[in-house]
Symmetry: D2
Amino acid sequence: MSRFGEPQDPVFQKLNASISFDWRLGPYDVAQSRAHASMLAAQGIISDAERDELLSALEEVERELDEGRFPFRPDDEDIHMAIERRVTELAGAVGGKLHTARSRNDQVATDLAMFVRAHALGTADRVTAVMATLVDQAEAHLDWPIPGYTHLQRAQPVYLSHHLLAYFWMLERDRERLRFTAAQADRLPLGSGALAGVNFATDRRAVAAELGFGSVSPNSVDAVSNRDFVLDLLAAAATCATHLSRLGAEIVLWSSEEFGFSELSDAFASGSSIMPQKKNPDAAELLRAKAPRLAAHLVAMHGVLHGLPLTYNKDLQEDKVHVFDAVDTLDLCLDAARGMLEDITFRRSRLAAAAADEFLAATDVADLLVRRGVPFRESHGVVAGLVRRALDEGVTLSELSPEVLAEYSEALDEEFYAVLAEGAWLESKVSEGGTALPRVREQLAQARRVLEDPAA
Amino acid sequence: MSRFGEPQDPVFQKLNASISFDWRLGPYDVAQSRAHASMLAAQGIISDAERDELLSALEEVERELDEGRFPFRPDDEDIHMAIERRVTELAGAVGGKLHTARSRNDQVATDLAMFVRAHALGTADRVTAVMATLVDQAEAHLDWPIPGYTHLQRAQPVYLSHHLLAYFWMLERDRERLRFTAAQADRLPLGSGALAGVNFATDRRAVAAELGFGSVSPNSVDAVSNRDFVLDLLAAAATCATHLSRLGAEIVLWSSEEFGFSELSDAFASGSSIMPQKKNPDAAELLRAKAPRLAAHLVAMHGVLHGLPLTYNKDLQEDKVHVFDAVDTLDLCLDAARGMLEDITFRRSRLAAAAADEFLAATDVADLLVRRGVPFRESHGVVAGLVRRALDEGVTLSELSPEVLAEYSEALDEEFYAVLAEGAWLESKVSEGGTALPRVREQLAQARRVLEDPAA
Amino acid sequence: MSRFGEPQDPVFQKLNASISFDWRLGPYDVAQSRAHASMLAAQGIISDAERDELLSALEEVERELDEGRFPFRPDDEDIHMAIERRVTELAGAVGGKLHTARSRNDQVATDLAMFVRAHALGTADRVTAVMATLVDQAEAHLDWPIPGYTHLQRAQPVYLSHHLLAYFWMLERDRERLRFTAAQADRLPLGSGALAGVNFATDRRAVAAELGFGSVSPNSVDAVSNRDFVLDLLAAAATCATHLSRLGAEIVLWSSEEFGFSELSDAFASGSSIMPQKKNPDAAELLRAKAPRLAAHLVAMHGVLHGLPLTYNKDLQEDKVHVFDAVDTLDLCLDAARGMLEDITFRRSRLAAAAADEFLAATDVADLLVRRGVPFRESHGVVAGLVRRALDEGVTLSELSPEVLAEYSEALDEEFYAVLAEGAWLESKVSEGGTALPRVREQLAQARRVLEDPAA
Amino acid sequence: MSRFGEPQDPVFQKLNASISFDWRLGPYDVAQSRAHASMLAAQGIISDAERDELLSALEEVERELDEGRFPFRPDDEDIHMAIERRVTELAGAVGGKLHTARSRNDQVATDLAMFVRAHALGTADRVTAVMATLVDQAEAHLDWPIPGYTHLQRAQPVYLSHHLLAYFWMLERDRERLRFTAAQADRLPLGSGALAGVNFATDRRAVAAELGFGSVSPNSVDAVSNRDFVLDLLAAAATCATHLSRLGAEIVLWSSEEFGFSELSDAFASGSSIMPQKKNPDAAELLRAKAPRLAAHLVAMHGVLHGLPLTYNKDLQEDKVHVFDAVDTLDLCLDAARGMLEDITFRRSRLAAAAADEFLAATDVADLLVRRGVPFRESHGVVAGLVRRALDEGVTLSELSPEVLAEYSEALDEEFYAVLAEGAWLESKVSEGGTALPRVREQLAQARRVLEDPAA
């Protein structure tokens, strides 16, 4: 029996049905139904025998889903209705009792919270794998100099290990965001009913405990309207993807003939349909290319929620489209980043040659003057003058004669030439978090501790 | 002396200069310079006398900024250069020593982290003020029924207090996000230099302690490239604004003649230039309207960072445009939301009439059958049939005769009419987080505890 | 033979391959290959016999694609390679000649331009169908009054026909945008090679003519880098979707019990899993919900192109994800909008009652005073005073006595009561484009002309 | 007299008032008021004497605005009310007649349409200036080879002129978009009143003619709700900014020591606060950085309009924030792009050295085999094998001996070495739109015609 007199229009069904994507919530829906049925029996709302029939049917549904033989039907609107329909096929009329004290509104919010929590943590594990690879590569390239850039201009040399570890700390913050997300998805919506709570003396805390939720949502209206945890996951994913886009962009750059700092393995590159010589860093380009998609999912979800009256509105169905693609895209990017980083080759001689550019020592020369008592702003001006002189004359800094130096400052003596001897420029960066080797070793130890921390 | 031979083009200066907006970082820049100078002296990099001269000049700069008489110059490119220039005017050549062991790159990251931390916490306080207003209004309208809606269709009645508290919990999550942001901005970038660390034995932890940072950034390359805390603030702000947009949209709806549930005070409404009868809920409309702007700031910042090679690039200058407007817009919205909610009038009779719509009790009738042993899915069908019969005959549910009821189910007896007697529909929602009054009172107590928790 | 020594990593393949979505370009790829082969033969680059073998294989490929029996292989990276591979299987070694004087770069740009042009025009046809439905409904409800709203407050009454035609003109502008898009996709990229042009004396204009392009791209570097026509399609789609979101939001509102202006047919609504009385306007909600997704595709594509060096980069592969989903989503929304509008029922009595609200005549009363010589700003104040008096006394405007009127203005005589008699408020809006019936009839005639214009 | 009993709250005023930004509409508001007053008199709605008083006061207002001495007041809510207030101060009570047959709703839509049209065309002129600079630079660097890149890997050489002209055609499309926008803003909203038309026999076509609009809006409800032309301007601006971001990104790349292809003039670069040697391409970085802001304005405006019921809602006030900043930002970027391009220096020797990389001729070698009858796909494999052999042996292609060549294909004879002789690789790209000099000269002539076309 239905309130409706006419069937749905096929175009409307296509627009309305979510089964084509929300089948992914199946395992979570089975788990929550199991916990719900157990609670209903424990509270005396259904009998123990009814519970057992429901649990048994749910077990079969789970097997069918697992094994890819769940009998979907063309008119299944969503996964929740499909599973309830199947339970009733398997268990008979008692199947109709499963939806007692429950609404699709709290049901879908619960499935989605479970999905978000599980995937936030699963993605965090993938992030950890990339972090571990970065630490390995940093150790393998501990003392290889590379130019550090600002404005894509050579600025000061650093060790490649130090540069790679910069990404480690970005990813560590991504893990913090993912864990924050998991905590935001840790309040059980189930038991909120359609919006007002339910007409039965349920035990929400028992359900929460069985499903691994830390607490229950305090307000039923909010519980069925709330998609904050989706925004949190999308925000965390977008930031992580933006980090990977920076990594990808750098590797594209380093793979150019002009930089020549690194080469992807053949396993992460591809060729050209027309130019036989090409080896393209496609994996790195795609890491760069995917970030806008993740940010777009986030802004789309804000758009969906914008100005939406409470409580549940059909608009919320859009949440899944965005969260599923976001999770899949990011996970694939993380796996590709890990594989790409494991296999990448760095070219020591090209890196060393670039990092030996004497202009990179200009700050060190200025600081030499500072140690002689010249205020930094003045010493900066002196060295800027020397740089311009060298550029005008087409020579390097160390090719400037003592006489020329004397024109710029009395404080410039032999140590000027000593400072320009390579190597010291890196080891002199002794401040905490700096690129001097002892500092990088400290940092590596800190990174190892972060990776090994079971509480992290 | 400069490396450059020609002056900057005026068009380029206009594009390049950030002083027109980054003057807001002034107080943070002074504070960090003070801490930096003190540390330089403590480490023997400058003398105590030099430090005192610098601190004295910085004190004067602070007064000038406070009192709006800081002498900005047309060629001040940014606030950092303006302050250093002014310190040198006030203190003489020693002013040139202030930038020892520091770069604009770590300096601007530090100012911005300080700004983000301070504003995240300041905005959280404004959120708290709105939460307190919601609790007050919930207490004042504890037992006023209002229809709860799904799909903007009347679904089940709730108490107005319960509905208002839904926003309380949204805002509580906003505070969690803002505090997470503050924690993300709690690692001191200063001391990272241009990108590689600095050539001096500095004490970054002393600077962190003086400025109230919890720790120091572990990697200098990351420290000057990192704007994650900006993304975190923008994400938190966008979510909060999206919450306010839902509140605004509901109040616009409730202010319509058709709903007639509430009326804004004259202090938060405005009239029409042409239609003398109009009273428009502008404050609520603007709460709705601002959310896309906040989400846009977030997606723009992701765009700025997209594919950006390490470390500092001029692109990062865009961060301030977005974060300043985001903070200002959200703070204004929060203040307006608080004021609007304090003054709003609810119309008890209109709310009561709407909440008394008998169709709102359909679930309760279905649950009555459930208690008689009918599986929920079957009872849902029975009641759907009754609803259709009532609609077809143009009567209310309680006007259906016992004979008609019997056509649909044997289990429908006199209690059917009892259930339809108003009031019970709310009080029967006894589940935790539900709308029954004892549950709302529990929730109010929980909300009060949240507000009073000093650790929160 | 390959430049590469190792196979691709499976994770990379998954990230890199586009065949899972770009198979949709198949028909366009076959068509362009056919035109390309014909041109190669006409120019003497391949022989006529070779052309015939290629054309014959392409014909078979087309049949296989049409009939869903094209033999895709796991290692097909994209549709272009899959088709070339299949042509070679069917035709033998001559298949290897198909890619003469062509690169995947100009090939994919050509396929995509063909797709965009075809879909821009196809979507425009769907827009036309909705426009025709709106005209039909406007004619069917020509003189039904409905309140016009500003700020969701009743403002002035209009005819429902006039309100519905507002959407007609929005959609007419959408058609203009879609046609602009088609024009932007009308320059043939093929023949630009990888980026520099090709080493053969090709005839690009012949290819353009065969494929229906209006001109050839003037610069090969731009031709393979250009995705402006994708941005144009996404912008047009986003604006159209935003229009539909406004329509959807209004119908959600009108479907509420409080407004009660309209009811969707059962074919475009759905029920509740728990509340048997519910009839939810899902179709309208989903029209509202989809707009942010379209806008997100647009912003994502801007993100992909942001800062991307010329010419082709793998990032461009993301274009298809966005354009395919945008087209599918919008087309489905347009079809649903048409169906929903065809079947919708308006409730004349509810509309009439709302539109008879006397306050809606306030402007008319003010204009009465204007015609008596009172400056509008002053007359606006007089009527505002009357409104406040009526509200304070809890009466309607027409219940105010002549004595009360006299307190506010001498110019208020018997005609005040005449103006308040319903109906005149609509017919007095005689300005061009206004709601007076003769004006609406003019507008309907104009709309009919727009629909019938073959050039439009 | 007012409908309201209480003054507005200061927080609400701050949120509500738009005068802080909409003062920019002042000149348009004066112009439309002038046209409106003239029409009112011509239609006999006000007297000629009243018109003259109004026009005289408007003239004075215009002077005050021009000269920066318009007396704004703290309680001016928006520019429309400020101007009407001032007109009344200057002209007396007749000022109150200016708003006859007009509403702020059609008034603001008209001002904004005028602003959008004027700025779309003004920005198009700035685009033209950049296009002219590109043509000049292309002519100045007609035959300078530069490597063309795909995937940022050297692919095939092109002439610098050809590469620069790619941007010319992007910008030409931007002009088309801006002109489309101007056409979309060419329908006069004024005369639509609040939403329903007005109670007077106005002559909208006369007003349109005086203000330079091509037609009048056909539907009053749509006219006051419509902000499509704002979306069109923002879409056009975002695409243009995205083009400039690609230009900026390339120049950043080319300015690196590693590429070394170009150098910005000192007038468009800046130094470092700490590193004296640095010359940073800030102008180019900022061109790159601004695009996400423009795209964000577009997505924000879509957000504002999302789900907004007709007709005017206060939300629309947000339109100006976005459109003003978009116009200002883009215009500044265009001016900076022009200046930067006028002054940029290209380094011929670095370009030539990079473009002489023999691997860039791999396609030409493959095409040599094609001309010998080898199918392209096979010849591509042959050359890929040669490339791998050369890489493995650490030699260039031309250092491979005839004996080695013979191992790969019989068709490889002496012409192999001839093809590898530089120069031919560019001149062989003879297809229309290709980089061969005669083709580039054709293209330059076409570009000149586009620039000189007065109709364009």
